[in-house]
Each structure stands twice: as structure tokens, then as C-alpha cells.
């Protein structure tokens, strides 16, 4: 079958089983847009800004596990997409991003809407391609999907000059692709796996620490089995929430900068640490010199370069988390009797004392709305089963702390890059993936304004997302740091001239609800959820100066975790 390059692109996507492309047209992509017009197998979703397209595809990928697909034009279309690429890259999210390019003959001439796409995107993608021959399109797209979804996943860009999408070639989509230069390893090393099991069985103060890799590998089943079998305490990074159910008896909550007291202290004092698909990010480890000083570390990761990058590891296991954990479970069969139960019980006793500190406790109020309370209510009402996307700031941390994620792929946030503006477009992607499920975007008054234009996309496609805006009239997280580390000099962290979010939502054709009183929080959330086919924007006016606790200040160790100051401490400080 002889087809144009543009038709080849669309056929490749169809044959790859792509449901949705998130995109925005422009000159260099117009042949491809024409090819999209002529078919209905692959549905194109028109966003309002290319960043929105990238985040939407990303959200779709995070929730469904399938690669997200984006189509944008050259030049500004590409540069607008870059933030979305970097966001996906940092969190290892599989995406294929097709970009139009100026015609081959004009490349390098500073042509209209030309940008060196391969150069601009290189540092924030897993790989990228410039297609110079129509005969190579199908093979390149196949490679792009293969690279994006295998090994440690990530975004891949395919740049197609306009003339190439007009040329014709025989269409054939390869069933399989082999690349001599790219052969990700998935099977863990048997000897290392054996060693890890021995180390775990001999532990006295063990901790199991899981990250986003556990979710990407869909390792939740063997992981939960493993913690059940061992009965060891477990914790998770921001990215790994939901791999072990939040209410699981071994789960100590999130760790890291705003993690719980018990999980951070358990990390600090442990003697054996099993890290599953986590990368020892600085927000998790704190000061590396003070990181788990007595721990013998086992690290499972599909990416060899993650192992030993920040922290020295005794048992490195390169492989797919799921298959490695299954291997470990096989070896543990009938072997758990050798666990030193009395030592581990003592360890649990210590942990329970830390837990009793109740580090997530917050002051309730019946005059001002506490943001933590909003998330708690949201959790109670939705039973931990909603898809929750988030932006970046205090609201993100509160969502992570107070919404108990019982299932993987329910918590959708930009952990690595910390991209404000991610929440709403990501929620769109999730809603496309799961049209009948409840999708909530927990956002902040500053973040929501970074991709606000997507409210228009939501109307066009009837996406009944529920937006919960924790409106503290501040860039709360910035303000918190300024309060702590800059003597309350709130330099440019105050959001003056905030819009009336209710009217704003209404003008986009949605429903807006203003909540100013604690007693109205619950009914507002319920009301919003009851409007099954409408996007509802709940603007919740919250305590403007609430802080996120506990907190490990940047550059401190887990053992230096700070709890919420008691009321008397705060009063003393104010008097002083």
C-alpha cells in the first residue's frame, strides 16, 4: 500500500493501538493533520496550549500504563512542549511525541518556525529522531514506541519535516523491532537476588522503601506479598504512593522532606534497606552524609545508572522490579522462619513509639478552613479510589500526606521536575483513560493559573473533572520557605489580584463553587461529585499561613526532622 508520509504516521499510530493523540496544529504538521481528518480510528484531542498536550498525554500514560501520544507543530509548538517532555522524562513516563519540522531543504536556514527540535529536546527525552526519508517513518515510529515503553520508560520525540510527510512510500508497520544499541535488561541477577534474600532474612531493623519504579513496573502484587510475608515496615516516595496500599498495616506513610516521622526515622535507624524502583533523590534522602548510616542496602532498579548514583549499595539488582520481586518471593517460600522475630518485634515497638507522635496531626478549626481537612474529607468521601492529580506546592504535599492511596496509578503528580501547571491537563489525560471514573485535581491558586486555558478543552470534550483549589492566596510553599529561611520576607510569593475562580469557571462553561467555611467543605465536595457530567471548580479559601509538617529542611538528615511546633511554641515565637 503506497501512502503519504502523513498517512503512514497515522496508520502507524493506529497499528500501535493508539486511542488518543493530544495535539495542536500548525504549518509543519498540517499534512499529518489532514491525514487525521480522513480517519476516525485514532482520536485527536485538541488542547489549548502544547504544554497541556504533553501533560495530558503524560497523565493518560501514568493512569493507564499505556504510552501517551502528542502531535505538535515545529518551532513554538515544540518549545511549548519542552516543559511537558522534561516533566515526563524526570518521572520516566512513556510518551511518543511527534513534531512537525520545516521542510528538509530549509533545515538550518532559520526558516519560519524552525527550531532545532532534536537539539532543544535532547536533554529532556529518553531519545529523539529526525526522520529524513519517508521510507524510514514506520520503522522510526516503531522504535519510538519500543524505546518509550521498555527498560526505564521515557518520552521519545520523532521530528518529521513537512516534505517528508508529503512524500510517498510503501506502508509496512514492523511487528517487532530489534536494536543492537538498545537492549534493556529485565531479568535480575540470580546470585544478587539470593544475596538480597539472605540479607533481608537476617535483618533486625529492616525497611522496605519503594518508589515510582514499582508503579511503572506494575509490581504492586509481588510487593504487597513481600511485605506481608516478611512483616517488615514499608514506606514510599512521593512517586511510589499506592504501590503498597496506604492502609496496609506495614505502611508507615511517605518518607522524605515532608514524610512522616516514623518513616524517616525508620530509614535513619534501619540496618537493612530494600529499595524498590526508587532513585535516592535528594528530596528523599536529605543530607547524604547522614543518610541511613547503619544500613546495608539492596537496590532493585531497571536502570543501572540509578544504582550507586547517590548512595553506595551492597546488593545491586538490575532488573524489572516485578520480576525480581517474584524471584525473591520464590526464594522466601518456607524461609521466613529464620527471621529474627523478636528483634523485628522490638523494631516495630520503636516504630510504634515514633508513630504515636502522630506527625500528621494538625490543628482543626471551625472558623478557617484547614487545607489538610479538605484532603481528609476528599479521601473519606471518595474512599481512596479517586484518581488524584496535583500541581506543585503545599497542596501537593497535603494531598500526598492525607489522601490515602490504596491503589497504584491513582496519584498523578510531577514529582521529579515539580512542574506547576501539570495538574489540570494531567487530569484531562486521566479522564480520557477512565471516562467513567472520578478524577480530582488538587491544585493551588498559583499553579492552576499556569495551564488554566485547558478549562476550554475540558468543555469541548465534556470532561467532568473535579478541581479542588486549595486557595491560600499565596504561593504557599514558597512562602513557607521564606517564613523559615528568610525571616518572613515574603518576596513575591503573594498572589495579588487573584481572579474570581467561580466566575472564571462559569465563563469557561463550567460550574464553580466557593467554599469559605469549614462546615461547607464536605457538602461542596459531595455536591461536586454528584454533578457527574460537569466539571466543577471548588474554590476553597484556606488558612493562608498554614505550613506543611513534618519537614526535613534541605541539606538535613532524616534524624533532623522537624515536627509541627506546638501552639505554645508558636505563641512564644510570635511574642519574641
Amino acid at each position: 500500500m503506497i501512502l503519504t508520509g502523513a498517512d503512514i504516521v497515522v496508520n502507524c499510530l493506529k497499528d500501535e493501538g493508539v486511542e488518543y493523540i493530544f495535539g495542536y496544529p500548525g504549518g509543519a504538521a498540517l499534512h499529518i493533520y489532514d491525514a487525521i481528518y480522513n480517519q476516525d480510528a485514532v482520536k485527536h484531542i485538541l488542547v489549548r496550549h502544547e504544554q497541556g498536550a504533553a501533560h495530558a498525554a503524560d497523565g493518560y500514560a501514568r493512569a493507564t500504563g499505556k504510552p501517551g501520544v502528542v502531535l505538535v507543530t515545529s518551532g513554538p509548538g515544540v518549545t511549548n512542549t519542552v516543559t511537558g517532555l522534561a516533566t515526563a522524562h524526570m518521572d520516566s513516563i512513556p510518551m511518543v511525541v511527534i513534531t512537525g519540522q520545516v521542510p528538509s531543504g530549509l533545515i538550518g536556514d532559520d526558516a519560519f518556525q524552525e527550531v532545532d527540535t532534536v537539539g532543544v529536546t535532547r536533554p529532556c527525552v529518553k531519545h529523539n529522531f529526525l526522520v529524513k526519508d519517508v521510507k524510514k517513518i514506520a520503522e522510526t515510529i516503531k522504535k519510538a514506541f519500543y524505546i518509550a515503553t521498555s527498560g526505564r520508560p521515557g518520552p521519545v520525540v520523532v521530528d518529521i519535516p513537512k516534505d517528508i510527510s508529503a512524500h510517498e512510500a510503501e506502508y509496512h508497520y514492523p511487528e517487532k523491532i530489534e536494536m543492537r544499541s538498545y537492549q534493556p535488561r529485565t531479568c535480575g541477577h540470580g546470585k544478587m537476588i539470593k544475596k538480597s534474600v539472605e540479607l533481608l532474612l537476617g535483618a533486625k531493623k529492616p525497611i522496605i522503601y519503594t518508589g515510582g519504579g514499582a508503579i511503572l513496573a506494575e509490581a504492586e502484587k509481588p510487593l504487597t506479598k513481600l511485605v506481608d510475608k516478611l512483616g517488615y515496615p514499608s514506606t514510599s516516595t512521593l512517586m511510589g504512593l499506592g504501590a503498597i496500599p496506604a492502609t496496609h498495616p506495614t505502611f508507615l506513610g511517605m518518607l522524605g522532606m515532608h514524610g512522616t516521622y516514623e518513616s524517616n526515622l525508620a530509614m535513619y535507624h534501619c540496618d537493612v534497606m530494600l529499595a524498590v524502583g526508587a532513585r535516592f533523590d535528594d528530596r528523599v534522602t536529605g543530607d547524604l552524609d547522614k543518610f541511613a548510616p547503619n544500613a546495608r542496602i539492596i537496590h532493585i532498579d531497571i536502570d543501572p545508572s540509578s544504582i550507586g548514583k547517590n548512595v553506595a549499595v551492597e546488593v545491586p539488582i538490575v532488573g524489572d522490579c516485578k520480576s525480581v520481586l517474584e524471584n525473591m518471593l520464590d526464594l522466601l517460600e518456607g524461609a521466613t522462619d529464620s527471621i529474627n522475630r523478636s528483634e523485628v518485634d522490638n523494631w516495630w515497638e520503636t516504630i510504634k513509639e515514633w508513630k504515636a507522635v502522630d506527625s500528621l496531626q494538625y490543628d482543626t478549626s471551625d472558623t478557617v478552613i484547614k487545607p489538610q481537612y479538605v484532603i481528609q474529607k476528599l479521601f473519606e468521601i471518595t474512599g481512596g479510589d479517586a484518581y488524584v492529580t496535583s500541581d506543585v506546592g503545599q497542596h501537593q504535599m497535603w494531598a500526598a500526606q492525607y489522601y490515602q492511596f490504596e491503589k497504584p496509578r491513582r496519584w498523578i503528580n510531577s514529582g521529579g521536575l515539580g512542574t506547576m501547571g501539570f495538574g489540570l491537563p494531567a487530569a484531562m489525560g486521566v479522564q480520557f483513560g477512565f471516562p467513567d471514573d472520578l478524577v480530582v485535581c488538587v491544585t493551588g491558586d498559583a499553579s492552576i493559573q499556569m495551564c488554566l486555558q485547558e478549562l476550554s478543552t475540558c468543555l469541548q470534550y465534556n470532561l467532568p473533572i473535579k478541581i479542588v483549589n486549595l486557595n491560600n492566596q499565596y504561593m504557599g510553599m514558597v512562602r513557607q520557605w521564606q517564613e523559615f529561611f528568610y525571616d518572613r520576607r515574603y518576596s513575591h510569593s503573594y498572589m495579588d489580584a487573584l481572579p474570581d475562580f467561580v466566575k472564571l469557571s462559569e465563563s469557561y462553561g463550567h460550574v464553580g463553587i466557593l467554599v469559605e467555611n469549614p462546615k461547607d467543605v464536605e457538602s461542596a465536595i459531595k455536591e461536586a461529585i454528584s454533578m457527574k457530567d460537569r466539571l466543577v471548580f471548588i474554590d476553597v479559601i484556606t488558612d493562608p499561613e498554614e505550613n506543611v509538617y513534618p519537614m526535613i529542611a534541605a541539606g538535613k538528615g532524616h534524624n533532623e526532622i522537624q515536627l509541627k511546633p506546638s501552639k505554645s511554641e508558636v505563641e512564644n515565637r510570635e511574642l519574641a
Binding site: 532534536v118 535532547r122 536533554p123 529526525l130 544499541s181 543501572p304
Partner: protein, 164 residues
């Protein structure tokens, strides 16, 4: 410590930029980098000289291996290897004395004079980096007009090979 890494990569446009970009993005040292196509036109071979602690070198190797264009890699300086560098030096050589001195030095170091003008000699010198450095040092009193060094090309000794 100086380390020499040799790699085979897909001979594709942009492959060199990926390697160079990796070094700048992650703040790794790069002392020299040479690249050229191989007898198999689909492959290019690169020799990189870098330095850093063991942990950093381990990361460099892993990060290079992670690049989709890198087919195969060998850390040459982990074993016995041969490293050779080519240097071209243009010196002032207008007087008979200057010419005689230069001839003598060049023959001691087993180099060659490859271009002669009224005022200059151009010398070709190959060898390991120590030898090339030593020659430059020996030219202490001579007016150097231009110095061009290729950076190291490396190959494993004996049975140690890097091929696909």
C-alpha cells in the same frame, strides 16, 4: 586519575552531540574526545579521556551505556591498553642553528618534519601522551607558532577487543 573509555556508536547525525551533551549536562570532565567512522560505515568509534573518582567514572560508564546510540563500550584504562596521540607542531626555524637543533630533537623523539618554509618547520609527532608532552617540554626555548593535538586514540592490548 585519567581514564580512557572507548565506545562504538551508531554512526548517526546527533550521536556525537548526545555524548558531548551528557558530559556537560552532568558536569563530568572531558579531557579529550576523538571520533571517526570505522570499517563498518554504520558505526563510529570514539575514544574519551576523562577523569574523576571511581564513583564518577562508574556513573560515566553507566550513563554512556544508557545512551540509545551507544552500541558497545569498554573502559580501556581498566586493563592494559595502547593509547596514541598525534601532534602537529609548527615552530620558528629560520636560522641554521634553529634548524639543526630542531632536526636533532625530532630525531631523538622519532618524529618527522613534514613541512619546511624559510621561517618554519612543521613536525609530526605520535606516541603516548607522555611522550608527546615530553616533546613539547623539550621545545621549551623554541618559539611555538601552532600546536595541534588529536587527543588519544585507544585500543586494548592483545585479546582485549571492542567490536560487535
Amino acid at each position: 586519575m585519567k581514564r580512557v573509555i572507548s565506545l562504538l556508536l551508531e554512526h548517526e547525525p546527533g550521536a556525537l552531540a548526545r555524548v558531548a551533551g551528557l558530559f556537560t549536562a552532568r558536569g563530568y570532565n572531558i579531557e579529550s574526545l576523538t571520533v571517526a567512522p570505522t570499517e563498518d560505515p554504520s558505526l563510529a568509534r570514539m575514544t574519551i579521556v576523562t577523569s574523576g573518582s571511581d564513583a564518577i567514572i562508574e556513573q560515566i560508564v553507566k550513563q554512556l551505556n544508557k545512551l540509545v546510540d551507544v552500541v558497545k563500550l569498554r573502559s580501556l584504562s581498566d586493563g592494559r591498553y595502547l593509547g596514541r596521540e598525534l601532534m602537529l607542531v609548527k615552530v620558528e626555524a629560520g636560522t641554521a642553528d634553529q634548524r639543526n637543533d630542531m632536526q636533532r630533537l625530532v630525531s631523538i623523539f622519532r618524529g618527522r618534519v613534514i613541512d619546511v618554509t624559510d621561517a618554519t618547520y612543521t613536525i609530526e609527532m605520535t606516541g603516548n601522551s607522555d611522550k608527546v608532552d615530553a616533546f613539547l617540554l623539550a621545545l621549551n626555548d623554541v618559539e611555538l607558532i601552532e600546536v595541534v593535538r588529536s587527543g588519544i586514540l585507544g585500543i586494548g592490548r592483545g585479546k582485549k577487543t571492542l567490536r560487535i
